[in-house]
Amino acid sequence: MLAFLLKRLLNAAFVMLAVAFLAFMIFRFFGDPVEMMVNEQATQSDRAELRERLGLNDGLMTQYARFVGNAVQGDFGISYRNQQDVMVLLADRFPATFELVIVATVLSLVIGIPFGVLTAVYQERKLADGLQLGSIIGVSLPSFVVGILLILVFSVTLGWLPAFGRGDTVDIGWWSSGFFTSSGRAALVLPSISLSLFQITLVMRLVRAEMLEVLRSDFIKFARARGLPLSVVHWRHALRNCLMPVITLTGMQIGNLIAFALVTETVFQWPGMGLLFIQAVTFVDIPVMAAYLMVVAFIFVLINTLVDITYAYVDPRLRNDASVKGGASNGH
């Protein structure tokens, strides 16, 4: 088990190094931050000095080594645009993104699971057809279009919900939460719907497929034969057997949602990490872009590693298999 753990962690570290290098290469050719940082009046020598001070004249490997060295200590430097510590900046924005993702996830489960069951149980009915069709639209509409449509209907025409921003927030330690004010909750509605739409259809289709499978199994037939009410059979016995894959999928999708909240955050001016990243891109704010990529990559790597370890813990065959492979490669 120890060898397996070590190998997984080494793997994770290697992935992070590769991401760091990729991020670095991209930004190297992305453009010139100095031109964006000085104003029209700045002289050529001002520019040259700034370039030198930022260390942009050093060799690529030197810059990369310095970046990794600092990143390991959690130091990503200070943002070119905001002149704030990048980690503080990201930590400040993380609550906004995380709350949005959590609400979107809850929405996707609360709506997706019942819809999945309904389409499976009432396969032959118009309602199921309608939901299926709706789900295709949900998958195919780009989320910025969905966002703008929601804004047009619920903010401009009906005037019910705010079109942008996060409303008022309450600070709990370093976490700023929008859950505790009515404007904060109102502001969450449209962006979380827009973000969850894809997720809802994913959950719905997964539940439907699993349900169809389970409904054909013997224990459901026996349950029916015992004369249990159909609602109990469907919603208790059958559904319970479908939930495992849904939970796995949801866990894995949280990383995706954090990464893809970017578009939703841009449309709704949601002050999260995605918005920060987009602005960093337009400004060639290299420290912020690099740190964002590293953080998102870290979330993915962390989730994957945890999942691997859990599986290995649950199923010893995986562990043995892996440690055999690990031993072999150590022999080379």
Partner: protein
Amino acid sequence: MRLKPKFILTSAALLLACSTAQADVLKWGASRDIGSLDPYSYGDSFTINVLNHTYEGLVRYDKNLKIEPALAESWEILDDQITWRFKLRPDVTFHNGNTFTAEDVVASLQRVSHETSPLKGNLPAYVSSKVVDDLTVDVVLTGPYPLLLNDLTNIHIFDKQWMVENDAELPTDIGAGTEGYATYNANGTGPFIVESRQPDAKTVFVVNPDWWDTPEHNLTGFELLPVNSAATRVAAMLSGEINFTNDAPVQDLPRLAAAPDVNVLEGVDLRTVMLGMSFRDKLVSGLDNPFKDVRARKALYQAIDMEQLRKKVMREKSRNAGAVIAPPIPGYTEALDERFAFDVDAAKALLAEAGVPEGLEFDFNCLQDGLVNEEQICQAIAAMWSRIGLKPNLDVAPQAVQTPKRTTGKADVYTLGWATLPMLDAYSPLLQIFHSKEGNSGVFNWGDWSYPELDKLVQSAGSELDLEKRIALETQALQIVKDEVIMIPLHQQPMVWATTKNVSDMPLFPDNKPRLWYASMK
């Protein structure tokens, strides 16, 4: 982190019905946020513009963009011609209650001109300053320099004691990787006090009851609400969540104008859009560069149908320009503004005279995120040039990608917009664009041209203290720019602001900077 307690301003009901409930707090939906609360953080016009509501300079622009006294009441140039003596306004206090004195001016000028300050280019002639008495300051310059007041309009004055207490005497040094107190906190003398700030979400300003000047506004405060997405900003305007935007997208104007609760304010920006050409021996492709010949440059000029461009691309919102500066800028004359006629045959003849080979290919460098409708402008012009037998290769990409190509001469023809900010004088483009590239001059001389005669005129204008003589020198220099077609002027671009109906007064300024201390609401 955030040192001020977060201010919970309104309930959701207020947020949803903000336009009626809080008529005197103006909600300003901007297309971007300010970078920090430190006006010296980097030379970004928008940040300086917004922070001008909190910080003030020794002098400022009035409603007609003429310089008027602000924190200084009067000034004179001493006999040595290089020392300026400022008499300061008495009884001015900072937002923290401290009294404004000469010490504050000296400390602020030292801060802005420090070698790590990104804004030191905004005060190019500054050498040193010293306190004469509590309300008198002497500023020493490198030589006779006529534009000090123009420069000072954008140099904001800090409280020395506040800077010392918070270790903020030096500007934030990005290279050193340190953060600054002034990045998160503000303490000026201006009409509005910063109450709270959440980057990318909301910055709240409340009125300063102890402002030295008589307010012409009736606001109790304003909120800066950045909304980057243009569609969302328009929606927020239509739903009344914002009262004002200084960046209404041109394509949404009909929609905004048709809305019953929205007023659209249109004007012409001071920014003149022009095209520059490389004057190097070779083009990027390695071919001989025909644009070294003034006839070839003039051919490019005369092949552009500005009327078509104005109608089709700019939707009749722009103003065709013959001069490289806008009419309100000192140095402008009507004669300079006369365009060379649009004439395809003349253009073809000029190309032939200059010996430009048929089907000449060259790179045409444009920005995706630069000027108003820049991409469409470039496409239209490229099509017009192919009509006279040239083959421009359009290269469109974001600013961050294009700028390095431009500064290193990897662009044969390129776009440039110049508003002369913050100086508001023809000296700005003459020194920065048209002067030969040497030392601190010609930083934007991307085509690498050199006209010694023009350089001389610019240099004498830069030390001529007599206003009329100086303007005459600048006009002469601009005449050379025009005769030699150093750059091709196109137009001044449109500028569109919008307000909801409950904003009764919002003066539109041609430098595209909102000044909310002149705004009022019903």
